[in-house]
Structure formats: structure tokens, C-alpha cells
Symmetry: D2
Subunit: 333 residues, 4 copies
């Protein structure tokens, strides 16, 4: 039974608390948060201790920490926890700065401790079924990947301003999905973007709508579409054309009821947002982490995976600002 410390007590930390305590191989020992009351509240709900982050990291009885704090603290906490001998599952992204993420990676390497990055979508049953079909050769050789990833509504401008921008905050999930499905890094990244959903997002220096094309050394192509607003719900679809067919992962719907009237045939909307859509993937992600730690096998999403996605985000941002495709090899770090 792994004893787990949970760093952070916000919304996503609550999701992880459920996964940790539901898993028969792990137990939630302690929670911390920069607002102690939040930690106390979550600790009460899950019948564990509320402590400081420092106490948790120093506690030798704790085997692993799950980092669900704000992005700017990720690198430091990964370093501190691995230095203290703990295994780590850290929410994405590793850091907003690629250089800082690289430094973190170097520090972790010295400890030899496992660090997994929380690209939970890899553990979504639909996407993992799609990948299994691909690996089983069901569509032959992959050629053209398309990822549609629209949020239901934009976050507050205050969030936008500290988010690192759409590529590092939102599309980073899709960059990792491309890596997960294509199995290798792209050669070049070509991005366009605009703030057509909300001009305030543009005024804040970010974009809300973007299309990124990735090219691979062997001729494969991937295209990722992001929008901060799809009023009908959380639109999360993947399709992959191969030499022998097409694989699609479609949206999950709120229910299976269909209504036919004079006005048309209406079915339910996609599940609203990530908590609804990806709840099973958080549980699966945690299960995969626990299993890797217990069996001493590599974690399924490495710190290197986290750094690669960040590098692609950096290239995309550079592509938009310079108005040209950017080779991944151009990105320093």
C-alpha cells in the first residue's frame, strides 16, 4: 500500500484525491495547500492529515507525492520531492519555461526517482482503445492525424494572463496526444492563431482559436485545432487516417436519449468539460502510476514526454509570432 501526499487542494486535487483513495494499492496520507483551510477541508473529506508541503516532503513514511499546485511551483516541487526520495506524479505542464523544465529534468535524473507527467488523456478509454487498434495494425500505417479540442467556454482573463498562453496551457494536451499516437516527435511546427472568440483575450496577449500543423520526417502530417469556446460542450475528438482505414474517437454524450420532432432529431450534447469527460482517465492514470511504482517499471508518461510537449508549444508560439514554420530543432533547450 503506497502512502501518498497530495500537494494542492483545488478542484483537480479533489479529483486526484478520489482516485488515490479509491485505488486499493494506495492510501491518501496527507494534503497540503498554500491556503491551509483548503487543505483542511479536503483532508476532512478524505479522512487524512492536513499538513504543510514541507512536512509532507520531509515525511519519510510517504512514498509518493501528487503535485496539483499552480504551474509555477511544479519544477521546484518535483525537484524537492525527488531529492527527498519520493516518486512523483505532477500535473501538466512541467513548467512554462522550457529552460526551467530542462533544469528540472537534469536534477531529477540525479535522484533516479520516477516522475510521471499528468497527461491524463492518454488514459481515456476511447483514446487508448484507438491507440490499441492502431498498434494492432487495424488501419495499416498512420498518415494523417487530426485532433479537435475545443473547450466549452474561455477561462477568466485573469487565468489567461498567467496561463502561459493557449499553446502551453491548452494545446499542450493535444501535443502530447499527437506524440502518444504518432510515436515520435515532429520535425516542424506551423501555427496560426487569432483572438476571434474574445478580443479581450487578444488584448491580454493570447489567442483563443488556433490551428497547428505538425510534419514528421517520414512524411506523416498531424493537424490540431483548438478553440476556447464550443457552446455545445467539450469537443474532444481524434481521427487518424492510415493506409488501410480511418480511426475516430468521437465525443462522449451526456446520455443516449434521442428526440425526434417536427424540428428535427436531437441528441444529447457532449459531456460538459474535463471533469465529466475525463473522470475515468484520472482514475486510470493513477492506477498506471501506482502499478509502475510498485513493479519498478518505467512510468508511462515520462518527464521527457512533458518536456517534449512543452517544446512543441514553444515552437508553436514562435511560429505564430514569426509567421513561419519552426523546426523543433530550432527551439533552444
Amino acid at each position: 500500500m503506497l502512502k501518498i501526499g497530495l500537494l494542492g487542494a483545488g478542484r483537480i486535487a479533489g479529483v486526484h484525491a478520489t482516485a488515490i483513495s479509491s485505488n486499493p494499492l494506495s492510501t491518501l496520507a496527507a494534503v497540503s495547500d498554500y491556503i491551509p483551510e483548503n487543505a483542511e477541508e479536503l483532508a476532512a473529506e478524505y479522512d487524512c492529515a492536513a499538513r504543510t508541503t514541507e512536512e509532507i516532503i520531509a515525511d519519510k513514511s510517504i512514498d509518493a507525492v501528487l503535485i496539483a499546485t499552480s504551474t509555477d511551483t511544479h519544477s521546484g516541487l518535483i525537484e524537492a520531492a525527488t531529492a527527498a526520495g519520493k516518486a512523483v506524479l505532477c500535473e501538466k505542464p512541467v513548467d512554462l519555461s522550457l529552460a526551467r523544465a530542462r533544469a528540472c529534468q537534469a536534477a531529477v535524473a540525479k535522484t533516479g526517482k520516477p516522475v510521471m507527467i499528468g497527461f491524463n488523456r492518454r488514459f481515456d478509454p476511447n483514446f487508448s482503445t484507438l491507440r490499441a487498434a492502431l498498434e494492432a495494425g487495424e488501419i495499416g500505417k498512420p498518415e494523417l492525424l487530426s485532433i479537435t479540442s475545443f473547450d466549452p467556454a474561455p477561462p477568466p482573463i485573469a487565468y489567461i494572463m498567467v496561463s502561459g498562453g493557449l499553446f502551453r496551457d491548452m494545446m499542450i494536451h493535444d501535443f502530447d496526444m499527437a506524440n502518444f499516437l504518432m510515436g515520435s516527435a515532429p520535425e516542424s511546427v506551423s501555427a496560426v492563431g487569432s483572438s476571434i472568440v474574445d478580443p479581450e483575450i487578444g488584448a491580454a496577449g493570447d489567442i483563443d482559436t488556433a490551428v497547428v500543423t505538425l510534419t514528421y520526417a517520414d512524411g506523416r502530417i498531424a493537424v490540431i485545432k483548438n478553440s476556447r469556446r464550443a457552446v455545445y460542450g467539450y469537443d474532444q475528438r481524434v481521427e487518424l487516417l492510415g493506409s488501410k482505414g480511418l480511426l475516430q474517437a468521437q465525443n462522449m454524450l451526456e446520455n443516449t436519449v434521442v428526440k425526434s420532432t417536427e424540428a428535427g432529431v436531437t441528441s444529447a450534447k457532449p459531456t460538459y468539460f474535463f471533469l465529466e469527460r475525463y473522470m475515468p482517465s484520472y482514475a486510470n492514470e493513477w492506477g498506471a502510476f501506482v502499478q509502475a511504482i510498485q513493479t519498478g517499471t518505467p512510468v508511462p508518461v515520462s518527464l521527457e514526454d512533458g518536456v517534449l510537449a512543452l517544446k512543441m508549444a514553444e515552437a508553436a508560439a514562435q511560429s505564430v509570432s514569426e509567421g513561419r514554420p519552426v523546426k523543433l530543432s530550432e527551439v533552444a533547450g
Copy 2:
């Protein structure tokens, strides 16, 4: 916090144990089974006591019992538990004998204790969404109901022989669904059936394929189709034609992946069986029971509902054996 005793430790009892212990308003206090080792195993898993049924019923600290034992014990246990002052949630059917169920109902009435029958499908999110749309008037006045309910594979012959027959064991769920959606009892029941899936089922005196038509005093009609075998999975669909449209609850699929190849466009099968399909409905059912008990409001599926469904099963069996429609009023009890 309601303290619950679980009577029975089989497969479905395990599902209920999860629902009871996950609900913040109830706690699983004790489990019994006619095979004590089964009770001990389940008790260990849920960290509660393994006791005898008699002990649980006699324990004044236990507020309610969930009866998940074999059908022949249902009536007796409902009577004993309510006489001991407990609220009861009992798996369907109340009994295989309508007379016995009626006697149970009379006994319970004297205690004034709430008894809910486990027609869990009423709590399936799809069927309850369909009913809500109906009640909101979205298809006007209901006219013609169709229920498709196919199991993935027939049970063992040994089970068939003690099951009470397809109408009391399997279609009883669909009779209750018809009552749930139509809001009143039918006037007459007309049934046909055969053992075309497996002649051994016929040799055991039962049928495996059946169509039952229900007529209502106001001209509405319902038709229920059952088969013990749909090799593609658990086929659970409802559709209701009304004066202003059609409502359908379609199957839930194992995943949303679609594969297009030279052979066609293939999507996932329906979820395999009731544990997969109705898991959320068991949790919702339990939540509804707990809420009714705590607020002192009527349970949403009454013992009378259980008796009505049983009466319809009786009428259907009589219809098949006599080769004619049977009025519900003809059924003694």
C-alpha cells in the same frame, strides 16, 4: 448516517455494497450470507462485520437492510425486517408467487415501514432523462411504447429452472419500465413466446424469446420484446411515440471509437451486461432510497409497484399458456 445491513453476499450484493459505502449518507455495518465464507469475504473487502441474517435483523442499531438473497427468501425477509422496524430495499421480484407477495404486502402494511423494490432501471440516467422529457411534454401525449430488452447470453439451465420463468425473472424489469413510463397499469396483456434460442430452455419448461403487448384503457399500447441471447451485447432500448414526436433511449456503447475500412464502418458494441450498463443506476437507486428514508418521504418504487409487475408477469404467463389475451383484472390477487 444510516447503518445498513446487507443480506446476501453474491455478485449483485457486491454492487450494492459499493453503492452503500460510497454514499455519504449511509454506511455498511454488516453482511450475511447463507454461505458464511461469502459474507466474511465481502465484509473484509468493505471493512464491516460478517454476521447471520438473524443477528442483523435483531440488531437495533441497524436502520435498514438491503435484501439481495435468492428470490424464494425475499418475502420472508421483507416481513421479518419490517417487523423488526427496519426500512427495506429488496431486489426484484418480491416473490415468484403473486399470492405470497400479496401476503407480504399485507404484513408490511401493518408495520408501516417503507419497502422499496429494486427496479434499478428507473434510475438509469438515460431512461430517467427520457421520462423527464416525456413529463415536460416534449413529445405531447404518449401513444405507443416499445421496449427492447435482450440479454447477451442465456443463464445456465439450472438457473432457468428456479427462475420463475422469463416473465417473472427477466421481463419483470420491462413490465416495471412500462409502468414507470406509462404511469398506469395496463388493462390487458397478450403474450407469445418460444424457446428458439435453446431447446433445452424449452425442455426446462421456459421460453427464451417473447413478445408481449399491453393495452391501456385510454387506447395506448406498449410492446415488449425479450430474448435471452443477443450475441453483440446487452441490448436495452426504449422508444415512445407521442402526439408530438418520438423519444428513444439508445444503447450505451463500450467506447466511442469508430473504425472505417474496406469492410465497413465499425463502432463498439453495447456494454456487455447489467453490471456494466446499470452500474450508475444501482448507485442512483441507493441514493434515492437513502434520501426517502432520511426525509420520511415515500420510496420511489413501492412494494405495490413490485406486486403490479409480478401480476403482469403472471398475466403474460397465463396468456402464453392459454393462447389468448388476459385482462389484468382476471389475475387473482
Copy 3:
């Protein structure tokens, strides 16, 4: 090149005129109608002669006639045309009276001329694909057939009064579809019906909503649902459960556009009515007739098929009026 006389110049005759003149193996030579102006109008459109029915039947240069007149004239015209040596394609039903239809069948038998009955749905690409899959063994042995057949809106009461009733006028198509897919006649027919859509239909002595269950000697079962009103369009679906799977023919939609908004995900309605839905089947039906005539092979839908469907309609009507299942062998004729 077959020279064709078209008897009748109403709406459905227009559909047949198109089929006849588009087929490279047939040419439309003449049209008649009891209202001569109608015949003249249609003749002008298709550049052929407007003549009397008697003239067409007497014209030795005409090889075959298509009978698209009112139902009460069908039997007489079939007899006259075959007696004159012509091949016949006659719209359904053969007659409203089973006895009259039997007499017609006897008269035709003496001429040895081919008579095909216009159960056009057999030639619908979806239903014929379904049947081909069944015959290819794709779902093993058939067990349980369901036919959903709803009109978009009821016809005028004046039509209802001369229609012969829902079973002979509307469900007769579905009886033939059952025969087409099941490959043999049922043993018994059990029907319920009501006039819940429009009480005026009831006042006119007919029903507007019906469910009919057919049982077969080998244990197979079929169920047919009819309603005169589905406000969302023409609902024409078939599904057949077999030992190795399920085949469904779903509705054809007006277009493939899907709109997702805050209100839900809306797709197009089914094509509105039979002219839209079954236009290709009329062309295919005609092609099959022409080919049979030219090759001297049996027509794919025989007069016997027409009589069988009528017999089933008769049994259904009797079942409703007597409130009991009726064996097909009980039906005189």
C-alpha cells in the same frame, strides 16, 4: 423494348411513368384514367398517347400494363389484362376482399400470364441489403423480427372510409415485408389497435395505431408497429435478431447536416413520405418486372404474395374484433 400501358394517372401513376420511361428496356405507350384530363396531362408530360383503359387492354401492340387505379378496380383489370395476353404489374392490394382476390388468382392462372404485385419496399436498397445479409448468413438463424412503420400524418377521413382499414391499406406493406424477410407464412396473427391519434378515425370504424404479433411454426416471432402519425416524418425501420447478431435498416435522412448548439445536437428528419423515401424502390421494382418479363423468369412478387398479405390483414382485423389470436388457417379463402 416493352411497350407499356399505364392504367391510372394519379400521383403514384406519375412515379411509375418516370420509372417506365427511364428504363432502357421499356417505353410508355399509353395512359388512361377515369378522368380523361388527367390521362391527357400525364400523356403530354411523357410524350405518349392518352386512351381509354379498354383501348389499352385491347391494343395488341402493348406488352404489359401497370395498374395504378383505385383498389376496387384492381382485380377486374388484372383479369381483363391477362385475358388479353398482357403481363401485369398491379399496385397493392390485389383487392379489399380476400374472396375476390382468390377468384382473380384463379382467373389469372388460366391465362398463364405473369402478374406482379407492387410491394415496392422489397426493392428499397436498404431492405434488400438487409435481406441479402440475412441470406448470406451474417446473423445466423433469424428469430425475432420487428417492423416499425409510421406515416407522417393520417390521410383524410374520406380516404380512411374507402381504404379497407389500416391492416389492408397500410400494414399490408409490412405483412409483405415480414413474408419477404421470414420466407414463410406465419401460423397465427395477434393484433391490437386503437384510434388514439384521431378519434374521427375511430368514428369512421378504423384504427390509427396498431401492434400485430406473428408467430411461426418453428418458433420465430415477428412484431409490426403501425401509427398513422409520426410528426417527425416517415418512420420506416426494420430490425431482425438472429442467432449470430442483429440487422437493422434505419431511416433515410433528408440530409447529413448536424448542428450542435447549447440546445443539443440536431440532425435532419427522416425523408418525409413514401415518394421521397421509396423513389429508388419504384425504379428498382419496375426494373425487376421488366427483366422477369423479358427473360421469362417468375416475377419476384407474385399474385400469391399479394393474396397472402391480404389474408394476414384479414386475420389481423378479425383478431382485433374478436380479441384473440387468429390462426391463418382459420381465414376462409
Copy 4:
């Protein structure tokens, strides 16, 4: 009644011959082809004259010509026919050379004769329904357009070599679809492409897989995906995200039959290729042309539309060869 001359007697000319002769407002007067036997065969089928192209153009009784010859002859024939006073419907593209197309446009302008370019997909019922919904404001303001356009199988290498390349031959349809739906020309074109389907296509100097991103002055974005091979059929989908929802035009399927077995739930493939999928659009296209000519209103797809799509193809080709986005304003002509 417009008298029409058809230039060309190949496969697509046959489709147009059907449209011309089925339309009540036009009649097919004459056909020509550079292989006279082909013209004679088609003329025999449609009961019209086989003549030389020169004769048709010189014939004052012919009101309009439909040009369905090889691409290299389009500009010259447009010029000759308009100079002879005829209205023209010409298959896409206007020319492989933008300069040549511009010269043609200038020559036509002097004649004042209407020239329509055969972007038939604008007349597909699904795409035109989508556009009508957009114009009705059903998804608010458009923001992000995606076009998926995959052929079932690559053409012969010999065809590839004279085709003008994927952008001018295949994606030109999608460029026009973008113009049709977005209502204005893009500002810049960014393209990537590879020959991953078949290296021989690469050896012939072309690509078989491409993604093109279009950006608009107001921040809207469009992305077009092309592949020469989708083994499951002709994949022709459009989706458009707007401020109030999403519109999708999905594929048309060969039939509506769905088969559920142990292997999954299988439906029909998309209709195989353009003749199957776009047959109704050719008829609608011709109808729109005839109506414009007869009413003296502008043709719905202008020569300028043809030139704009060609310019976008040119920009895309330049973008691939130079590895950078190309502004439409950079393209000479």
C-alpha cells in the same frame, strides 16, 4: 428551351448529358469529342447529333455549351464559345496557369457572356443546407472551418503527371468550398504536403497528402485536409465552428443497414466516389445554370470564382515549395 452543345464525351460528360436532357428547360442538341467515336456513342445514347467542336460553336441555334474536355483546352474553348455568343458552363479548373486563366477572363469580359465554373459541390444538398443554416445565423459568427476531402484511391500516375498537381486538380474543389462558406478570400495560405500514400506520386513531382491552413483578415481560420487514398470510400466532410455552435456535413452512406455481431456494430461505407456522392449536385448545378441564363441573372459560380480558387492553389503550391505561408496578394495575376 435552351439548346445545348456538349464539348467532350468522357465519363463526366455523360453525367452532364443526363443532367441536360433531364432538365425540362434544356435539350441536348449536339456532342463533340476529340475521339469522334466517343461523341457518336454518347450522341446515340441521348438521341442527339455528333459533331465537331468547331461546328457546335459555329451553330447559331445552340444557346450554350458545356465544356467537359481536358483541362488544357478549357480557356481556349471558353473564349471561342463566348466570342460566338454562347453562355458557358465549364468544368473546373479554368486552366492550370493562373496567367492563362486571367487572360481568358479578360477575353470573356469583352463578350459580356455568362461563364459559370463547375464547382458542383456548392450544389450538393448537404453542403448547401449547411450554408443555408449558416446564413440563417444558426451558429452565429463563423470562426473555424475544417474540410476533410479524401479520394478513395489515387488516380494513375499518367493522370497525376498532367493534372497540375494535387492543389490545382483535387484541393481546388475545397478551396472553392472554403470561399463558398467563408464568403471572402483568405489573406494567406500555409500548406504542407508529402507523398506518403505512394512514393511514385512523389517521383512524379506531386504530393498525395496535404494540409492547408487559410487565414482571413478578420481572424477566421480554415483548414483543409486532402488525401488521395481513403480505402473506406470517398470521405467528404465539412465542419464549421461558430460563436453559437457547430455545423457538420457528414458523409453519405451506401445504405442505412447496421449489423451488430460479436465483432462490433458495422454500418455501410461512404458512397464510393464523386459520381455516386455528387450525382444530385450535378443535376442541381445544371438547373442553377439554366435558370440564371433564362432569367438573365448572374451565374452562381463565376469565372472570377474559378480564378480565385486557382490562385489559392498556386499559393499553396508555392507555400509547400518555399516552406512558408504565402499571402494571396503575393501571387502574381
